[in-house]
Symmetry: D2
């Protein structure tokens, strides 16, 4: 894992401290607070802070519903109802803060989720570490033929060896030159006193997109779930999906009821179009519907049949 002994010690110190609070507290999440969960070869996710528990969703919804809800004693029922009917605002009342270490090309996908707060390590200000993402052999996939945006079979034999070597060597060489251009040793003194050293904000441009960066990322539950529904999805690129899966696991610890509802309705569910509903109704009525008379494009038809387990 990617931590120095100093970083490890800092984390342990954080974990050892404890205070009294009147706030809602979730012991299952406290257990892993600050602890980095490894992702990819040098990355991690760790929870830095959180606000709220399952009850906080109900509490906020009940202000919104006021006295009217005094008979709904079942929090789980209410949370599932809210999730099912897209009453999203009560889910915004929980908040979580992560510290994430991730390759730059993953960070570039991630940052497109705009409704979140971010502080990233600055390569204008500081020097990045020599850490690059190199895929594990079983992740070294060929281009998919069916889907321009996906992966096919795993590369084999010499091609795999060659690709790994290229990724490793180019990263190493680019980083060597980054250091050479910076001309700074570990103490910030010039390596070569004859040279000035290129500005950090310029030198970084020589680094490849698989170099690791890190950030603090804070988000409310509603927007976290939206992120997870897109990024823990099988269509998401593997390298971001493993982060989303680690975070989904943390969300299960944090908010078991809301997370279960999310997995039932959002992750495990599917959307039917107007036509799709009509076709299901016709099929349930015993009709033998074919693509030709379905009103669906071939692609939509295939997607629907897969969903209905008929392909």
């Amino acid at each position: 894992m990617p931590l120095t002994p100093e970083q490890q010690a800092e984390i342990e110190q954080h974990r050892a401290a404890s205070s009294q609070t009147r706030r809602a507290t979730v012991p299952a999440l406290e257990e892993i607070l600050y602890e980095p969960i490894p992702v990819l070869d040098h990355g991690f996710v760790r929870v830095i802070d959180y606000m709220g528990d399952d009850a906080a969703i109900v509490q906020a919804a009940r202000v919104s519903y006021g006295k009217g809800t005094k008979k709904i004693t079942n929090d789980r029922g209410l949370i599932r109802y809210l999730m099912r009917h897209r009453h999203t605002t009560p889910f915004e009342m929980c908040e979580i803060k992560f510290h994430v270490k991730l390759p730059v090309f993953v960070a570039r996908q991630w940052i497109r989720h705009r409704t979140a707060n971010v502080n990233e390590y600055s390569a204008r200000y500081s020097i990045l570490d020599r850490e690059f993402y190199i895929p594990a052999p079983e992740q070294l996939a060929a281009q998919s033929v069916a889907n321009r945006q996906g992966r096919g079979d795993v590369l084999q034999g010499e091609e795999a060896v060659r690709v790994l070597a290229l990724l490793r060597d180019d990263a190493a060489q680019c980083y060597d030159h980054y250091e050479e251009m910076l001309n700074e040793d570990a103490d910030g003194n010039p390596r070569d006193p004859e040279r000035q050293g290129l500005a950090r904000e310029l030198a970084r441009m020589n680094l490849p997109l698989n170099i690791y960066t890190q950030w603090y990322w804070k988000v409310d539950l509603h927007n976290l779930l939206h992120f997870l529904s897109l990024r823990a999805d099988p269509h998401a690129q593997y390298e971001i999906r493993v982060y989303a899966e680690a975070m989904l696991e943390m969300t299960r610890r944090w908010l078991p009821i809301a997370c279960e509802a999310f997995e039932d309705y959002a992750v495990g569910g599917a959307h039917l179009s107007r036509n799709g509903i009509e076709i299901v109704r016709r099929m349930l009525a015993g009709e033998d519907v074919a693509q030709a008379d379905s009103g669906l494009s071939k692609r939509e038809w295939i997607e629907l049949m897969e969903l209905l387990g008929r392909s």
Copy 2:
């Protein structure tokens, strides 16, 4: 204050419970957690939850600055630097959740701050309480003559008496008719069994804008400070300013260093235009600048002279 004994008891119960947490904790804010601070005649603000302390701002900024900051040992210095130079993202790493009871016309101003999470009590779903904001006599101000958007002197004598009576009587009558239209007693049974009762979502339209509503409002520190800089400002309407002032006081408890920086730079500071700077330079150089040769409009000139204590 506007609480029933049941509400008071619920709050006391909340306050009595306490847990262990590894999270950053702020004892000065814990002290008043859940406690409603009265605002206006029936309103309140209370802190429901919070995330982070002053150190959390530094912590997030240091990820962003990475190893580069190892020599800045002074958190206060860094926070003030960030505030002064509009490095706003570390301030987004703290979050706070309020429960607010407030008149509808105040809620309408407040909600225009969009970067926040809100759950409001629903008058579609529930019945609103008979509580209206009636200004204290010293707040019953005449229209300002100078500023279309401001207040002048306090109304006196018969006019004041008449205005207060109108506000009180119209509110009472509108609420009586609201109840009559709803045709529901305290247990949800029809008052008059001959009538059906108007839908709640329609009946509420008879209520005046000074009726109280309530909501949960959750916001990050950066956006909270932006809200406070606009709404704790002397140009803000008094009825929202008193909420902002109560929240500013809570923010001082929560994040004393960040809040001090905010008050020094944002609240107590002022913005000079390009021309304004030029004029100050000329004045400091001993020149006797007049509005005519200042390049400023009359209004801008007056504003600048006030700022410089020369009016």
Copy 3:
């Protein structure tokens, strides 16, 4: 309709002017540009400006997809694909600006859609007109018994007459007193020279929630469609739904392809949960599934059977 001859003339003047532009232009929308479409008794919606057409969605998506799409000649296919697979960012590339006149209680629901730009008529600064929403007799509905948030049958006979009279009379009286408190005539002079007049920002609090306000509301297509999917829905309150329906009609003129895809997938579609999909599969396989062994709550079961046309 709610326009003075002066306002009508201003609009006609706007409509008469025409310029050359190199921008994407939509003749069907130009036809009704600036024209107020009546909604409710005194309200309207009109389109003030727009950016983009159906092709602009494709154009933006193709930057995102780059050269890869050179074979997709069918814009409609691409737009439907994007809609179906929740690739929402290309839909943010179209923008529309509305001028809306609407009752305050409708404005309060509307404003909760935060990702939009708003400028509202200020009752701090100006005097509101004497215009209130009074429901048409066929909209004067009783409280629903099944759904706390909905309407039941239409009120009949004396109850209906009484409710309409209350709404009308309270609005009239509150407005009379608003004017009396303001103490301003049409030219801004005091009605009663002995009195100062209450500040506008205070006097407005005597107005009921059915008074009309107006605003400019600007939004991108993705967020507009989200608004329409919630507010043109049968579960939305009638008084906001009629605005959403008028705007949906305008969107059909503006972006016929995107709007058709939206109506097929979003409006006319439905979401199935993980369990719901399982049940449909079992039913299609010939099994006779009952609620008891469905794993669904009674309420979810009823919703699913309705969707499948089996209730």
Copy 4:
């Protein structure tokens, strides 16, 4: 410039077409519509679409001010007033859409401005072009000694030659290997029929941060001005500043009055702290204030003296 003849032809075709519109139109901006303005060695910015003109700001503000403004005949005065007093919402009523080609490390800074709509060219889906940013010799700056986040003198002699060679050669080699790993020729056929080719979404990770990407970026005027105030600022990194400066120039064409107000108040202005104001007042009163008795830190004192032209 970075355009192929086909791209050039497509742009010319766009520019040649023209339609009638009732919308607000700005001839000075129409003149350059679609035309790429070169930035850096291979980048550009071009305006794709816009909504609104200076009058649209006034129009929106006047809804918000309603009848109250009938005497303000001076649009310029109103726009300057709005800008000076941070009434920002009317500035959100104008919208502009850019197509930008820019190095990835610039894109990473840019994207942190979240209140905008973005569609980026996808390197998961498509193959990036062989285009890298190589600084011009006069931009090849050393690390600043005073400011960790800034540049010092320009590198000279052999060091400059060596740095340019490293940047060029590493980029070329990384791109060669990118192509080799992809194993696709210009027609999408395998170069080497024995190999499968690595998935695009993986191969891209070998590319350095100075490779060019492109996107559509759409933003409202208020958020554009915020972007420009930070990125056209001398403290911004040169490589993003040149984009901001090109866009500022376009904004001058688009909204001359709003842009002038922005340059007077925001760009050319400065913020004084509470203490700073006090010091200016003391100096204007003839006092000889020194840092020691100013209450300012040394750094703040230097910043203030520079602002006042006293350093």
